[in-house]
Amino acid sequence: MTLTASAPTSAPAPTRPRRTWVGALIGACLVALVGVSLFVGVSDVSPLSLLTGGPDSSAAYLLVASRIPRTLAAILVGASLGIAGLIMQMLVRNRFVEPGTTGVSEFATLGMLVTIVFWPGMAVVGKMGVAAVFGLVGTWVFLRVVRAVPVRQLVLVPLVGIMLGGVVGAVTTFFAYRLDLLQSLGQWAQGSFATVMQGRYEMLWVAGVMVVVAWFAADRFSVIGMGEEFATNLGLDYRRVVAVGMVIVAVITAAVLVTAGMIPFLGLVVPNVVSLIIGDNVRRSIPWVAGLGAVFVVGCDIVARVVRFPYEIPLSVIVGIVGALLFLWLLLRRRSRAH
């Protein structure tokens, strides 16, 4: 992985092996975890109870109404947040950014607050739309502020983003506090799949569509990652590709926020780990990032459900612990070059 500030995307490295077996391993992990996720929970749902109970049993109902939606939601969240982080990293040309370290999540949360205050009865699609617009504004503000960072310092960029998020978060908290909405906002913002059931996760398919869009545009993002001049020389409409990337990131952030809440560090850690394994070619790494993100979230969700059985711990807590440790490792790994 090239961790230099100027070029996170080195040319597709021919020396890297294809590592198909690692990809197969991720796929196998995902299948195994999905199996566990479907059959772990307070009520008894096991393959045996499904067989003996027949298609109309309570076990089958539970599977369709709760377990399958929840597992699908976890997969979609993991895959799309990983992609959002990957694209953000290409746009800013910095390894250490993701929606959570750039203030985009906080802007989207502010959008949520606005809908709660002004249009409390709004449908979830509308809430998501408003949150996405705010997320878009947040991405734009962040890109502007980063442009003001004169020297391309590697760790300064996420630092500025986190502080930007802090300032916006303070505004949100202030109004939520004044309007007595702190608690309901807290429930929205805390990352968890506890309330995900049939009819309450479908918004995430929008995030799934964004993953597909990202896949189609993958090569363009690779080129964007090499810088504006380089991209323009190759005949690419730089601004348009950046705009597409911003929309993808904002919509994914908003969709995840509306259904599952804020999930820290995911978009940061997953693309970095993938880059360590197979390098920086976006077209090749997109399925890896999506797969690994899904494995990560499904796994953390299982831990969140099991560790204090029969109660649940919010997913964001587990992801926060694991993700923070991984991020620290990424930061301090190359201490000699970090300055």
Binding site: P150, Q153, V155, L159, F265, P314, G320, I321
Partner: protein, 332 residues
Amino acid sequence: MLTETAPAPSARVVALWRRPSARLSLLVAAVLALIATYLFTDVPGSLAFALKVRGLSVLAMVVVATAVGVSTVIFHTLTQNRILTPSIMGFDAFYVLISTIVVFFFGSASFLRMDALTLWAVQLVVMVAFSVVLFTWMFGGKRRSIHLMLLVGIVLGTFFRSFTEWMQRMLDPLDFQVLSDAMFASLTRPDETLLLLTAILVAAACAAVVPLLRTLDVLTLGEPAAVGLGVNHRRVVMALFGIVSVMVAASTALVGPILFFGLIVANLAYSYAGTFRHAWTLPTAALLGVVCLLGGQLVLEQIFAFGGSLSMVIEFAGGLFFLFLVLRKGAR
């Protein structure tokens, strides 16, 4: 400030204004005036009762301002920078984590059975020991970039907070109640015993700093120069980190985390004091802290009729100020 309003400031006033002692006296006068205003404005009922209640919150603010201001300035000197603070480094999150771990493993029963003083002492000793280890790890070895340390600190803070939340979710409700009562006292309605303990502790920590004032000035020159001038660098730095830990732990336990407060106060103090000598910057930081807390509270209560949201205002203003500092630092 004062001289600007005069059309032609006489040379004498300017000369007086250059002296740190004059600036500090002016600040002391401002603080006294603020305290008097706070105590005596709009007394609804019995004066004695109001004075007692308000006196306690003034004391809380003075204690917190002193602890945060003094510890941040010392921390800046030790780490040789002006944008890190113990809070931003995830320090108070760490304190909450330690208290949670104590309750988690020993239960609130032991928490309650021990008298407040013992518990206080145990927590502080654990806290100071751990933080000295943490600081040695982060600042003891090879010199790393300030921005990297800052990012590491912020991520560590997130880690501590997530871990704390996890443990708190595992606690039974009674234990949790005891813990949150112990963790979140308010700035305007502090717990009396806890406040007095904190005040004594912060006063003791300040007294411990006094003989080290000149050593601190020498430390400003950097480690090689300080060692050359005969400072036992390692020992002094560890002692000072210990003092910083005590102050931060004490103020966090009293009013909870105030992330950006120390940053604002310390940087204001450097420009207001007009000198980097700690004999002047430390009291200036503490007094400016009182001005910010008390003045901010007065403005919020009297003009906007809000209560209790001062920390959010500080967070907002402090965040913007921090961005400004970081971006300007990046420019250089």
